[in-house]
């Protein structure tokens, strides 16, 4: 009846991943709450911080928007994650996954679909943040390679956080607890140097802020955007944390998926 194309392991895994990505993109587009939560909500938060609270913060920068934008990028990434962990968990309890498992479909494809769609959503949210930032008077001093660095780091953080979130979603027992499991990831940007400098905080909190993963990431982005590069320590830490997220998330996700699926 229908002819099949010649099989090839790598290309078939890639093809399966693309089919799964298309599936997850459709899910994402058909769920307005996901779009609201991951794109609109960070923008609303941005308006609140910059237009409402910002005037009261003394960050040492002339314009608060210039200080806050890097942190808002990270916040935009973390807000997109809650929807993913719940979606992954929900997906696992559906019969459709069993169907994929009885078919000659690449095992990684299902997870790849979720990870890529999460990263895409994060990138869209970050683009929205940058666009709105410019309308609010954002005045970066970044060169073209700096912008490339910003793009690269945002992409890397998105992928790392996405793998970690997919793992959290797989490990959770219910979609509700899967959503809850990402709350620390969503809260972390608030307890970082995203909105006010770390050295304005009390002891204890300040140490936490300095050593938590999002602070070096935000500092590196801030350095790239204002043209005065962050310390090597921060830059190394930023990349190490992002890659670490990705490796731990990937390993955890794949082993949990094999156990569950």
């Amino acid at each position: 009846m229908s002819s099949t194309l010649p099989p090839n392991r790598l290309s078939s895994s890639w093809g399966d991943s693309m089919i799964m990505l298309r599936r997850n993109l459709r899910h994402s587009m058909r769920n307005p709450i996901t779009v609201f939560q991951s794109v609109l909500f960070p923008v609303v938060m941005m308006l609140m911080f910059v237009e409402v609270f910002g005037g009261a913060f003394d960050t040492g920068e002339a314009e608060y928007i210039d200080y806050a934008t890097p942190g808002l990028l990270v916040m935009a990434i973390s807000y997109g994650l809650g929807a993913t962990s719940a979606a992954v968990n929900d997906d696992m309890r559906k019969g459709i996954i069993n169907r994929f498992r009885t078919m000659d479909v690449s095992r990684a494809a299902v997870l790849n679909g979720h990870v890529v769609v999460t990263a895409v959503r994060c990138m869209v949210a970050c683009a929205a943040i940058i666009a709105v930032a410019f309308t609010l008077g954002f005045d970066p001093h970044a060169s073209a390679p700096d912008w490339l660095g910003v793009f690269g780091l945002v992409l890397l953080v998105s992928f790392g956080a996405a793998w970690l979130t997919v793992a959290l979603g797989l490990a959770a027992k219910t979609p509700e607890s899967a959503g809850l499991a990402t709350v620390p990831l969503i809260m972390l940007p608030f307890v970082s140097s995203a909105f006010v400098p770390a050295d304005t905080m009390g002891t204890g909190v300040r140490q936490f802020v300095e050593y938590q993963p999002f602070t070096p990431i935000i500092e590196t982005l801030r350095g790239l955007l204002d043209g005065q590069h962050a310390s090597t320590g921060d830059t190394v830490a930023a990349f190490a944390w992002s890659i670490g997220f990705a490796i731990v998330g990937y390993a955890w996700a794949v082993s949990t998926f094999k156990k569950r699926a």
């Binding site: 093809g15 089919i19 599936r23 459709r26 009885t102 078919m103 000659d104």
Partner: protein, 314 residues
């Protein structure tokens, strides 16, 4: 194992937490036939399907599906089978058409569009093809589920309780589709709790109870295992009943109903001799009916027998 076997299972065992769910089962399914596995809830039917479809691994025994070992040639098995599980394996957030298209893409079919159109038509889903599956009724989801299983024309199809929860009309539609598939050479492995379903569709039936196959054969062979084919005669009055009981040895009488139960098969020869005998004595029955045991009787008799045997063993 013969080359004609689509499925060959020997000594299959599976236990969960020390409790045997499948306690050494053997069966073979010839290519192009329908094999029904019949059993009550918890008998191990779904576990069997899950092992045969590579979802879980067996503790012991060998399973060949389409000539491939499920333990080692998983990939080859997966590309030969189609599975419709007990719970609709459809994507709620996609439309009916998108679900089918996704299957065609995953099977890398070149003429996917045409196939999807054909399946939508065949399963009477054209009108709702563009609607999200989350708006479908239970019967529509089942139909879409089966349609998705058929994409890529798998040689062996597993249907785990395919008609559970369907209305009688959808059930008939499902049966019709199963018959069409078999006519086209597909092998069907079916599990069901409904005896009439197994009776209508299957070439062979295996009865599974508490992880063991307690009987296997054609529907007729199974029915023959339980005695009980009899002719029931009802008379107008007690005198005729008395007279008839005297001339028909081995019969049992029911005085309240004025009826007589005469053991024997339902063949025309034995019926004729029974009628001749009544004629000979000028006896007239008001009503005659032939009772053959249905699979329900077989099932109850078989499962009771094993329960009884186990009770004795203890």
């Amino acid at each position: 194992m013969t080359t004609r076997s689509a499925i060959a299972v020997t000594g299959l065992r599976k236990a969960y937490g020390g409790k045997a769910v499948l306690d050494g089962i053997d069966f073979e399914v010839a290519a192009g036939t329908v094999f029904s596995m019949l059993g009550p809830n918890g008998a191990g039917k779904t576990t069997t399907v899950n092992i045969l479809t590579t979802l879980i691994t067996a503790d012991a025994g060998t399973v060949y599906v389409d000539g491939h070992d499920v333990a080692t040639a998983t990939k080859a098995v997966r590309s030969a089978i189609g599975v419709t599980g007990q719970f609709a394996a459809v994507d709620d957030l996609l439309t009916g058409r998108e679900n089918l298209q996704m299957m065609a893409d995953l099977r890398r079919l070149r003429s996917g569009d045409r196939l999807v159109g054909d399946l939508l038509e065949r399963f009477d889903l054209v009108e709702s093809a563009q609607k999200l599956v989350s708006t479908y009724s239970g019967g529509m989801r089942r139909k879409l589920d089966l349609a998705m299983t058929l994409v890529g024309s798998p040689r062996i199809i597993f249907l785990d309780e395919p008609t559970t929860g369907l209305d009688p009309r959808s059930r008939r539609t499902m049966w019709g589709i199963v018959r069409e598939l078999v006519a086209a050479g597909t092998t069907i492995f079916l599990t069901t709790q409904y005896l009439d379903e197994a009776d209508h569709l299957s070439d062979r039936i295996a009865v599974l109870d508490q992880g063991r196959l307690i009987a296997e054969g054609t529907a007729d062979e199974l029915k023959r295992q339980v005695p009980g084919t009899h002719v029931r005669l009802r008379f107008a009055d007690a005198e005729t009943l008395d007279a008839a009981a005297r001339i028909l040895p081995g019969s049992t009488r029911d005085d309240q109903e004025l009826a007589l139960r005469v053991p024997g098969d339902a063949g025309t020869a034995s019926l004729r001799s029974l009628l001749d005998r009544l004629d000979e004595y000028a006896l007239n029955a008001e009503e005659l009916s032939v009772h053959t045991p249905d699979l329900d009787d077989v099932f109850l008799a078989l499962t009771e027998r094993t329960t009884h045997l186990e009770a004795v063993a203890k």
